[in-house]
């Protein structure tokens, strides 16, 4: 079974200004620093095979970024069976500790990352503002993260817009049958109706810049960004900071996120025992 480690991380503060390719580069270096036993591509230029979820626009913040790291065979073992100091050729073995977060009960040297310390170790290796909140094992079956995500949750503020004005703008927006906006795509101005992509939109508070809105925007047929809503809601205002709060996929029991902190132990147990 070819296991993958699915990692959820944030991107907040100054680091929000790095681009998607930059995120890939810093993630790759962090994985090497931690020494995770990830698989590389074959050929003359072996590269780490990282796969990310939906790209986050440069300048946006997020609590819900995802990356999947394909692991080499035998990279994961149950903690009870692990040899102290066991190492895989491609790096330390990831050892299961059955969801316990305390000190390692198997007497393993600290250089061997146990399953539950992977998140901490990656957070430590990533730049400030990128923190890992969950690391879960998956079996690598099913569609890619990019294909599986059908909508994203967002919070964003609009500079200088008061909450009451925002509430009215939101009500008007939701009442409209169509909301046609223009954007520049590959050098050309394209008009499109964004109304069908807005599943949820509400005013949730006020920041020191202005009204804070929360939205759920669909990712198909194309990803609509919060910044596209602002000209329709408040043409005279600029968006402040947008933060992605969720990436939603379809699960067995309704919608679900690719990884949340609580899933860590349970998912892992199932995969190891199965």
């Amino acid at each position: 079974m070819s296991l993958r480690l699915r990692v959820r991380f944030s991107k907040v503060g100054k680091i929000r200004f790095i681009g998607h390719r930059d995120v890939a580069r810093v993630t790759e270096r962090a994985v090497r620093k931690v020494g995770l036993p990830v698989a590389y591509s074959q050929g003359f230029s072996p590269r780490m095979k990282l796969s990310f979820g939906l790209a986050l626009p440069t300048g946006y913040e997020s609590d819900a970024e995802f990356v999947e790291l394909p692991l080499v065979a035998d990279a994961v073992r149950d903690g009870g069976a692990a040899e102290p100091g066991a190492k895989h050729a491609a790096g330390p073995v990831i050892v299961c500790r059955s969801g316990t977060h305390g000190p390692c009960e198997h007497g393993l040297p600290s250089a061997v990352p146990s399953y539950c310390t992977v998140a901490e170790a990656l957070s430590e290796a990533l730049p400030v503002g990128m923190e890992v909140s969950a690391a879960v094992l998956t079996d690598g079956r099913g569609p890619s993260l990019q294909a599986a995500v059908h909508s994203c949750g967002w919070e964003f503020d609009i500079v200088g817009l008061e909450a009451t004005a925002a509430a009215k703008a939101v009500a008007d927006f939701l009442a409209a049958g169509t909301v046609v906006t223009e954007r520049v795509h590959k050098g050309e101005t394209v008009s499109s109706d964004i109304r069908p992509s807005v599943e949820v939109l509400q005013v949730v508070g006020c920041s020191d810049r202005g009204a804070v809105l929360s939205a759920e925007l669909s990712a198909t047929p194309r990803v609509v960004r919060p910044s596209e809503l602002v000209p329709a809601l408040a043409p005279a205002h600029e968006m402040g900071i947008a933060r992605r709060t969720h990436q939603w996929t379809s699960g067995a029991a309704g919608r679900a996120e690719p990884a949340v902190p609580a899933m860590c132990a349970q998912r892992h147990k199932e995969l190891i025992s199965g």
């Binding site: 790095i18 270096r29 003359f44 290796a125 730049p127 400030v128």
Partner: protein
């Protein structure tokens, strides 16, 4: 001391590459400021992605922050889009570490790696909210410093920079910190700026232009003489004797966005005595000081582990000359990993072709193959003797064969054109060499190709070619066309060349005297920043500025200098005897080669004898054999006929090195 981040943040979504301005590197320091600390703002006057990897700046950044009496932050030239936003918003130049205003630092110190950044230096001083001319700045303003290779001719920036550091910076920054710290503790009282400048002028290796009177005799420079008896007539460079005492950077900055050299860098030696006569770096950084192999290995291992990089560059002016290079590369590539995926890529900048053996090629190619650049510099053996780049065609073909046989498909060959005594057959020989290389490549792969990169030669101070009259742009352009037509329709050779017009502007600044400062200011005031970026460069602006200042391009750039002419950098000591340089210039014209003094007897250039230091090399013989590694008999060089009788260019009225 306040951070400007809240004012900068709203501007960043509007500019390209905002990650240039956020800092956040692994290895970034968050120094505190205080009255007891001398605060340095280390400035690289080009974009972040070019400046961040600079090792000199990173070494000083760490050294200063380790001191209990100093703090150091960094800044880079904001790109034109952010500059416009900053000027509109009234936001001054800031550090990327804590986003403090540049004007709050005690010292703003610029790294000068290339002449075309000079207008950016002025722009950064201006963006800091300061007067660009030193004489107009007040006591409380930061002191403006500069160092790096271009500081060896400080005169073009003498009116703008308060002090220059000549040579290695590791030791001298401590002395400057102490002097400025003492002045700071007295409160920088009105009228005391001259006192601190005079104190700085007393530090070995520090040049304070305001302490010197300059006189002219018509267009000629007559003298640069100290105003006071305690100010040295000759400012001699600083040299650290033993690189082993300076294992820096220990925590190389790992950027969060892409930069030009995005890999670990470990300096394996400093200095080079190959004696290439066009090469300023090889002349001013003598003698050779190797880092002990054990320390190199330690720095590589610790650096890779800490940074997460999978590529390391072994840095020097000619890395294949490092004693035990093949073993070092082998150990580095393997690095303890047992499988292919975790192998470390090694990049070797400045590889001499006579040292790139199959062995080295095989070691490098065990990991992901890095780009390969060879620099024959000149197309013909005749011309390579004149420039003392003593590699034969067989050397080049051997290196190229090594590379193709080990799996490379493509390599880059670097050449200079417009060299002294260069005649058309020499120039055309570049095409023949490149073509021959691709034919060797085809024995190994159908995809074999070569990129020829052609640079216009700009004579540099403190080299044997400092007296040579540079080719005008028309002549350089003609030589580029010669190479292009000699290449014919070859699809296997791709030709790239530097803008010949940019070489002229570089020439103005390279060998200019203090009067050129007005030209730089003129170009800057007309918006001529980022002149090393081809889309921003404008020779017309430089010509206009020269005319406005009453200066002649022919005088400053295209004319040959005589033996006894006072040169603008004569009061700066690079350790080289002037008569050594002159004789080497005469030997060049006679086609005489000069061996590498690391492995052959000393010819007393002055670099060691004047400083009481010596080469520090682990091997008494060249790692790859022979004098200059070629096994060539250097004595036969002068049998090759050489002439330096430049053809007059129609219309240009200036001499060039060409002959038809």
């Amino acid at each position: 001391m306040t951070t400007l981040w809240p004012r900068l943040e709203p501007l960043l979504p509007r500019v390209s590459k905002p990650a240039r301005y956020i800092g956040c590197e692994d290895g970034m320091q968050r120094p505190t400021a205080g009255p007891h600390l001398t605060s340095w703002l280390l400035a690289y006057p080009d974009t972040y992605e070019i400046g961040l990897p600079n090792q000199g700046l990173q070494i000083l950044y760490e050294l200063l922050n380790e001191r209990p009496d100093a703090s150091a932050e960094r800044t880079y030239a904001p790109w034109i889009d952010l500059e416009a936003e900053m000027r509109t918003a009234g936001l001054p130049l800031f550090s990327v570490d804590t986003h403090r205003a540049a004007g709050e630092f005690d010292i703003i110190a610029f790294n000068l790696s290339a002449e075309l950044v000079y207008t950016n230096v002025l722009n950064c001083i201006d963006l800091a909210g300061l007067e660009v001319r030193s004489a107009q700045r007040s006591d409380a303003d930061p002191l403006i410093g500069a160092g790096g290779h271009c500081a060896y001719n400080p005169e073009p920036l003498a009116d703008f920079v308060d002090f220059f550091v000549i040579g290695d910076g590791e030791e001298v920054v401590a002395e400057i910190t102490e002097a400025v710290g003492a002045w700071k503790r007295t409160g920088k009282r009105p009228g005391t700026r001259d006192t601190i400048l005079r104190d700085l002028a007393g530090i070995e290796g520090v040049y304070v232009p305001a302490m010197y009177d300059v006189s002219y005799d018509g267009p000629a420079l007559a003298s640069v003489a100290p105003k006071y008896p305690d100010v040295p007539a000759l400012v001699a460079k600083r040299t650290v004797a033993d690189l082993a005492e300076w294992p820096y950077p220990r925590r190389q900055l790992v950027p969060v966005t892409e930069v030009v050299h995005d890999r670990l860098s470990v300096e394996v030696f400093r200095g080079c005595t190959r004696g290439c006569r066009f090469c300023q770096a090889g002349m001013i950084t003598r003698p050779v000081r190797e880092r002990p192999a054990a320390q190199v290995r330690e720095m590589v291992t610790a650096g890779l582990e800490r940074s997460g990089y999978d590529e390391v560059s072994l840095m020097s002016l000619s890395t294949a000359d490092y004693s035990g290079i093949a073993e070092l590369v082998r150990d580095t590539v393997t690095g303890g990993a047992s499988d292919d995926a975790n192998r470390i890529s090694v990049s070797l900048p400045s590889m001499r072709v006579d040292a790139f053996t199959v062995d080295v090629a095989a070691q490098v190619s065990r990991a992901r193959r890095t780009g390969l650049t060879f620099a024959p510099e000149a197309g013909s053996w005749r011309l390579r003797q004149i420039i003392n780049k003593l590699i034969t065609e067989e050397d080049l073909y051997g290196a190229v064969r090594s590379a193709y046989s080990q799996g490379w498909h493509r390599m880059k060959l670097y050449f200079l054109t417009g060299l002294p005594s260069e005649m058309d057959p020499d120039t055309e020989a570049i095409a023949h060499l490149a073509d021959a290389c691709t034919r060797i490549g085809q024995e190994y792969t159908k995809r074999a190709s070569v990129t020829v990169s052609l640079g216009g030669f700009v004579p540099k101070p403190h080299t044997p070619f400092q007296w040579f009259g540079q080719n005008p742009p028309e002549e350089l352009a003609r030589k580029v066309r010669l190479v292009r037509s000699a290449l014919g329709r070859s699809r296997r050779v791709q030709l790239k060349w530097h803008d010949p017009a940019a070489s002229t502007a570089e020439g103005i600044a390279s060998r200019g005297d203090r009067r050129v400062g007005a030209v730089i200011e003129y170009v800057w005031r007309k918006g001529g920043t980022f002149q090393e970026w081809s889309e921003r460069f404008d020779l017309g602006l430089w010509e206009e500025a020269m005319a406005a200042c009453g200066l002649s391009l022919d005088w400053y750039v295209y004319r040959h200098r005589g033996e006894h002419e006072v040169l603008p950098w004569d009061h700066i000591g690079a350790g080289l005897h002037r008569d050594f340089l002159w004789h080497d210039w005469q030997d060049a014209l006679a086609g005489h080669g000069l061996p590498d003094c690391r492995w052959t007897p000393c010819y007393d250039c002055g670099a060691c004898t004047e400083y009481g230091i010596e080469h520090m090399v682990a091997s008494p013989v060249a790692p790859n054999g022979g004098s200059q590694g070629t096994g060539q008999d250097l004595a036969t060089g002068h049998l090759v006929p050489v002439e330096l009788r430049p053809r007059q260019l129609a219309g240009a009225g200036a001499p060039s090195g060409g002959g038809a």
